[in-house]
Amino acid sequence: MSGIVSYGSYIPKYRIKPDEIARVWGEDADSIRTGINILSKSVPSPDEDVATISVEAARNAIKRGKVKVQDVGAIYVGSESHPYAVKPTATIVASAIGADFSLFSADYEFACKAGTAGMQNVLAMVDSGMVKLGMAIGADTSQGAPGDALEYSASAGGTAFVLGKENVIAKINRTLSVTSDTPDFWRREGQPYPTHGERFTGEPAYFRHTISASKMIMEKSGMKPEDYTYAVFHQPNGKFPTRAAKTLGFTEAQYKDGLLTPVIGNTYSGSMMTGLSAILDKAKAGDRIMAVSFGSGAGSDAFDITVTENIEKIDRESAPTIKKMLSNVKWIDYAIYAKFKKKIIVGDAIE
């Protein structure tokens, strides 16, 4: 019976409101708020990146589950904003948590589903007996070009899951994926900002893959929407996951706890995983969760999860809960945001 043994998240403390971004670019904040349902987004401090976010999430997971680091035999980090083009973030995480020299590790990239691809990989390694425990992390400090619609949503955060066979708090009953070659969103090597294929982002990309993967996993598991306590999806904005949930037949009571984008923005590889983390913060034994990520390019990973009685045995408050990270924030204006995110370029003599 393999599944999630522990989990931990990290969301940077700084937040910016759409009003600030809209003020600078002469857009209407109200229409942004109602249009894409984003009320604020997280912003990383200048000294934070995917490595620091991954380390904080990993440490929170280790602390919460009292995980023996020496038992972690694999670390995979999924992101589209790894700090190095060549030099894996996983190596930095391994060193920072004190993992063994004998370790499977790599960085993954599949737009916003690289972290969940890591989960599937680690799950297979656990099931096959290659490792006792493995860690999969999804984290991003995503960039939206100044003035682009993505600037309202692209944010920062990440979540780490430790997977194993013993002391499982949430059993992964089944996982499956769908993949297609879809030009909805991409970033070429060396380009600072991504490009989106405007008319491809909705129907042929997000909705087709998310809904297909959701229907496939429900069919294979003999489940119906009403059989789930919670449903969580990838959240590029506050509107898409809500529409996907309703299309599939889920109610607000099922999707509201995992829906974080309205307050933290789109954390890309961290998005669905952090939503799942928020659900695990409050889930009870026997709760059934459907979790479906989406990565542009494109594909979806779906998970059918059952929460076990072990969830009551770990001290969930021993690491910061999502609720706690949402309550302790610092608001910044666009000028500070632009400075933090290096949208203001300083001379080579300075940096």
Binding site: D47, D49, T52
Partner: protein, 133 residues
Amino acid sequence: MGKLSAVWRETNHRYRLIAHECGNCKKMYFPPRDVCPICHRESIGKMKEKELSGLGTVESFTIVHDAPPAFARQRPYVLALIRLDEGPVLTAQIVDSVASEIDIGKRVRSVFRKVREDGKGGIIQYGYKFVLE
């Protein structure tokens, strides 16, 4: 290369706050020391690695306005003397707070942050900084 290998050698204590405990007098040293300056020869071969909790208290602090170029985006920043719960005192940056929130006696905990970048193509150094608890 000499600088790079110096950074690499310090990875353990900078990433994980690894201290050395004297096996003789039990005093904790951070950064780690190979010999206890109190016990001298008595401590040789008895210095044990210990991972510090990262929890501590602000003993003193200063606000740096005339920041080095690499800190341009963080100016002004707070540099503090922090007494860790296990005993050692270290100097570190306190982040995610404005100077007016920081005071002597405040509780802090360590976080993992970028410490410096060696230009756009160089190595990124990571290490400990602190936030208010």
